[in-house]
């Protein structure tokens, strides 16, 4: 229901949902993110690529409130500066994320895992309704039949989808996915890809960090390239695979194959 309302509001007006200006993060001299400026429009499907250690995860941590950027950085979400806000506040405002390595609540079962994100918004909702909502979240990712399994016995592919279901349950406007395809088989990756497309079609803005370029390039509309903390390239997948700097830093000689 709420996803529909989001899509209504976003599809009619393609406003800038995320605007980052002079964003930096230093770890004791290491410039993990170095003066990045970018903006994302509502409803876009964005990819971020770059070699390991380029600062992609750090970038996500900054936006979702897990790290505090350096002074002078600005992160505007729907026109408000969200620097310094705590992650749970940002989740309520509409930013959800997944982690690079799956982080399920191991000793809770799948249903409880998807119930947790529903808790903050449903203080006065009866528990049966809460349970229904959580079950729907599981149905969305085809995990309903495993709802009573504790997370620690689920295989990696299921856990990836469980993570995805949890962050969808936050009902975000902006979803940050950190390597959603890593460690997945071809079949499982295809499933996740379909889920991402569906969510995007409903109007959700999604940013994906991924190393599996074949999938990423056919999925996203625009790509940002990070290298040693700096933004070295930006554009459609075609443009990026022709960008000489990006090729030398990351893509290598097989750049054309990905598009």
């Amino acid at each position: 229901m709420t996803i529909d309302t989001i899509s209504e509001s976003t599809q009619t007006s393609k406003h800038v949902i995320l605007k980052v200006s002079s964003l930096s993060k230093h770890f004791k001299g290491l410039k993990a993110v170095n003066n990045v400026n970018l903006s994302v429009k509502s409803g876009e499907l964005i990819g971020i690529i770059g070699p390991n250690g380029a600062g992609k995860t750090t970038f996500f941590n900054l936006i979702s409130g897990f790290l505090k950027p350096e002074k002078g950085s600005k992160i505007m979400f729907n026109g408000d500066n969200i620097v310094g806000k705590r992650p749970h506040k940002l989740a309520k405002l509409g930013i959800a994320r997944t982690f690079q390595l799956v982080r399920p609540f191991k000793f809770l079962n799948a249903l409880e895992n998807t119930t947790v994100p529903h808790i903050p918004k449903n203080t006065y909702v009866s528990s049966s309704v809460l349970k229904n909502k959580a079950t729907w979240s599981l149905i969305e990712v085809d995990l309903a039949e495993k709802k009573n399994y504790p997370a620690f016995i689920l295989p990696h592919g299921d856990l990836k989808r469980l993570d995805f279901a949890r962050s969808l349950a936050v009902q975000p406007q902006l979803l940050l996915l950190d390597e959603p395809f890593s460690g997945l088989s071809h079949e499982e990756a295809f499933r996740v890809e379909r889920l991402i497309r569906e969510s995007n079609n409903k109007g959700m803005t999604i940013i994906i960090v991924e190393h599996k370029l074949k999938i990423l390039m056919r999925l996203v509309q625009r790509v940002f390239v990070l290298h040693e903390g700096r933004l070295i390239g930006e554009g459609s997948p075609q443009e990026i695979s022709n960008n000489q700097e990006v090729i030398s830093a990351y893509l290598g000689s097989e750049a054309k194959e990905y598009v």
């Binding site: 979702s64 897990f66 310094g84 705590r86 992650p87 749970h88 506040k89 989740a91 309520k92 959800a96 994320r97 982690f99 982080r103 399920p104 609540f105 191991k106 000793f107 809770l108 409880e112 119930t115 947790v116 994100p117 808790i119 903050p120 918004k121 449903n122 203080t123 006065y124 528990s127 809460l130 949890r166 962050s167 349950a169 936050v170």
Partner: protein, 596 residues
């Protein structure tokens, strides 16, 4: 930390509180409304309040009748001893469950839960016995600095502080008298609730510390807190004298307040026992209410949020869970119930002292929770019952006057539990649970049944005269079993069925004897361990037999039977299955599918 951050932190908490305002007001009304009703001078106080029966005596007649009956058949033991033990179990159960509420559910491992328990014990006692008021400034004890001028300065400084504290106490007392009525001495239940609430508020402060430190560092901080608290109490006494130091406070407390004034005449002589009963009921009610409340929270969505924090704090926060708020909530809730338990314990002992902050209290409840099963409120309750009964009913009697038995016994049990059922009794496998129950029943049957038959007394006789034990016991077994056999034969005779062929009864009897002997043969291994090795070892080698009474011996026997009986009950079916598969194939399993 700048101003903005602090403001935001409070904003977080305030947001959560505001979105639950209806619940909070409801709960507050639920808790405080009864007290308003019974405030002195209130119109409703006398006839309407159920709590009144707790306050001003007037025990419910049926209960005292029941008690009378129970006492006559020896249900509560001498001087309501058993009643006291169960009350103690209940208090420990509340305390252990409160630890589980915090550490089992939220994962904020506290190694110093005794701080809440001790803190509340002091507050409770204070509230119940009244704030010490007196404007007579005692001349200070000589201060040992050696330099007269400094001594004088320090003396007048402390004099000033004393006067200041007195002033604050007087003001506080006036305010409290204004709120509560003529005297600030409150009945036990009110004192308990005030103590628990104060403890919860105190825990909010500790919760803010806990936000800063995580994992092992939090454990270290919480470990140190009660030690600091107990030192503060001692130092306070050294500085300000016993008036404000209150290292030990004791006095009339439970008995005067809960006791019925108009006992039935036939119970007049046993007022103290009736008080035990009253106290027991008091504890029981509080136990049920607090465990119910803890379960209510733990099994609700709040409990789920707690668990998500335990599993993965970052993931929980990224999903919108306000981690800081829930952590502080867990601290406050846990401290509230720990405070209830502490207040009850101080009522049970009728004193409060720095020893309430001892770390053995903190460790005991952790061990209870681990043995019972962490992360399920019921686990703490089970663990508390098992360990308290083990300590109070058995170990303390068997090893008279041996110090620190509790941690030794608990520790051994903890290691065994962690090895064989790492998730505690509450989450043990079905076979293990069955084995525990069967083992205990087995021990009961072997220890209790022969008591009147001459076995036990003979063993004691042999122990006390330190005759060679083994032969005596064996001859006893033989004689008793022959006696039993012949007595059954006699019964057959008595029925007058003198026939040459076997009757149905004979066949049944023979079969049952065959069964009994078969199992008896297997059980003789256990018997050998428990009776001969165990008692011989404990009785003669350890040299403890001198101070043992008859009951202690039975208790020792029981413990040994449990210790041997549980593994026996666990492995017997497995061994039987192996033998069966070897000699009969699958036949006796009658078609059940048994993998492995």
């Amino acid at each position: 930390m700048d101003r903005k951050q602090i403001a935001e932190k409070f904003e977080d908490v305030w947001d959560e509180i505001r979105s639950r305002s209806y619940y909070i007001v409801g709960v507050l009304l639920l808790v405080f409304f009864p007290f308003l009703l019974v405030t002195p001078g209130s119109i409703l106080s006398e006839p309407f309040s159920i709590l009144n029966s707790f306050y001003s005596g007037g025990s419910i007649p049926i209960l005292s009748d029941l008690f009378n009956l129970g006492q006559e058949i020896g249900l509560f033991g001498k001087n309501a001893y058993l009643l006291n033990i169960i009350a103690l179990c209940l208090i420990w159960a509340i305390f252990a469950a409160s630890w589980d509420f915090l550490s089992g559910y939220t994962g904020q491992v506290s190694f110093g839960h005794a701080i809440f328990w001790g803190f509340s014990a002091y507050v409770t006692f204070w509230v119940a016995t009244g704030v010490p008021i007196g404007i007579t400034f005692d001349p200070l004890d000589p201060i040992v600095l050696g330099i007269p001028i400094l001594d004088e300065i320090l003396g007048s400084l402390i004099f000033l502080i004393n006067a200041f504290i007195d002033f604050i106490f007087i003001i506080t007392n006036e305010i409290l008298v204004f709120i509560f009525g003529s005297n600030f001495m409150r009945p036990p239940l009110a004192a308990l609730v005030v103590g628990a609430f104060t403890s919860a508020i105190f825990a909010v402060g500790i919760g803010f510390i806990a936000l800063r430190v995580k994992g092992p560092y939090l454990a270290l901080v919480t470990l140190l807190l009660p030690l600091i608290a107990s030192q503060i109490v001692v130092i306070m006494t050294d500085l300000f004298g016993p008036k404000y130091g209150i290292p030990f406070i004791s006095g009339p407390f439970v008995v005067e307040r809960i006791s019925p004034f108009d006992l039935p005449p036939d119970l007049m002589g046993r007022a103290s026992e009736i008080n035990e009963l009253n106290f027991f009921i008091f504890v029981l009610v509080i136990f049920f209410i607090s465990v119910f409340l803890m379960m209510l929270v733990a099994y609700s969505r709040i409990g789920l949020a707690f668990q998500s924090i335990r599993e993965d704090e970052d993931a929980a926060e990224s999903l919108g869970i306000n981690v800081r708020f829930y952590k502080i909530l867990a601290f406050a809730g846990s401290a509230f119930f720990a405070g209830l338990a502490g207040g009850l314990f101080s009522q049970y002992l009728r004193f409060t002292g720095p020893s309430f902050f001892a770390s053995s209290f903190s460790f005991s409840i952790i061990i209870m929770c681990v043995i019972g099963g962490i992360g399920s409120i019921s686990g703490g309750v089970v663990g508390a019952f098992v360990l308290t009964i083990l300590l109070e009913l058995f170990l303390k009697d068997i090893f008279h006057g041996v110090q620190s038995l509790d941690l030794l016994g608990y520790g051994i049990l903890l290691i065994v539990t962690l090895r064989y059922m790492p998730f505690g009794l509450a989450r043990a496998s079905k076979d293990q649970k069955k084995a525990c129950i069967v083992g205990v029943l087995f021990a009961i049957s072997w220890t209790i049944i022969p008591i009147g038959e001459g076995w036990g007394t003979n063993i004691i006789a042999s122990l006390s005269s330190s005759l060679p034990l083994g032969t005596d016991v064996l001859s006893n077994i033989l004689s008793v079993s022959f006696e039993t056999l012949t007595s059954y034969m006699g019964k057959v005779d008595y029925m007058g069925q003198i026939t040459s062929s076997l009757s149905d009864g004979d066949i049944l009897m023979t079969l049952s004897f065959v069964l009994i002997f078969t199992f008896g043969l297997i059980a003789s291994v256990v018997f050998f361990f428990a009776e001969i090795i165990g008692l011989f070892f404990m009785g003669d080698i350890l040299g403890l037999s001198r101070s043992w009474t008859y009951e202690d011996l039975i208790k020792a026997k029981f413990l040994i039977y449990v210790a041997v009986g549980i593994p026996f009950a666990f492995y017997l079916p497995k061994a039987f299955k192996k033998v069966r598969l070897r000699f009969w194939g699958v036949w006796p399993s009658a078609g059940r599918y048994e993998p492995d």
